[in-house]
Symmetry: C2
Subunit: 128 residues, 2 copies
């Protein structure tokens, strides 16, 4: 896959990103301070624009078919510190400040099981 030329030092435009056939792009949320990868969710162009403009990370919920302001109901909000774009312009990395757990299971990260010696084990407990 060849990507379009990378627009350096010009105003960022969400339309320059590459969305899939549903109009979505995957976004990885990483804790800006610790480097911990917290979750992956999806955005459409409008969600990208809202996130960059407002700072409250806003995804597109594929199950609800609606905008999803992270933490709007739980209080476990994500504030955008920096948005990064990959070489193919088809994936985003969000450096965020995460309030409380990122996962709906009340764990800090959604990635809470690991394959170790062929078995899948829990490596992170819910925040009590």
């Amino acid at each position: 896959m060849s990507a379009a030329p990378i627009p350096f030092d010009i105003p960022f435009d969400p339309a320059t990103l590459r969305y899939d056939d549903r109009g979505l792009i995957p976004a990885i949320a990483q804790d800006h301070a610790t480097g911990e990868v917290l979750m992956l969710a999806w955005m459409n162009a409008e969600a990208v624009a809202r996130t960059v403009e407002g700072g409250a990370v806003t995804y597109w919920s594929r199950s609800q078919n609606a905008f999803w302001v992270k933490g709007a109901s739980s209080g476990h909000r994500q504030r955008l510190v920096e948005l990064r774009v990959d070489c193919d312009r088809d994936c985003l990395l969000l450096l965020v400040e995460q309030t409380g757990p990122a996962c709906h299971t009340n764990r800090r990260s959604c990635f809470f099981t690991a394959v170790q010696e062929g078995a899948e084990v829990e490596i992170m407990a819910p925040i009590s």
Copy 2:
């Protein structure tokens, strides 16, 4: 979305993951030592199995429609240190040991531009 119960402490089976309608699951590669997010690519069930069994990270190339042993041609290999699974079982986090640059542009990470004050700027140079 509700996910299937998490199979703790039983042998890991790639068939328990949730693949999209193309039979693919996104996989985030993170440097196991520094925490740097290097790239996102895709795997099918067989790529997951090969990666876990052999330790050489193997993706499914959507453009080539073929298995893609990372670094097989460039030498910029990824060795799996640990595979993690998210709560919905529809995304993987690979902690890896990366030889050289992860990006085909010769940068350490594929995420080498950032939106800062509304403009997209380059934040990482190719490895010389």
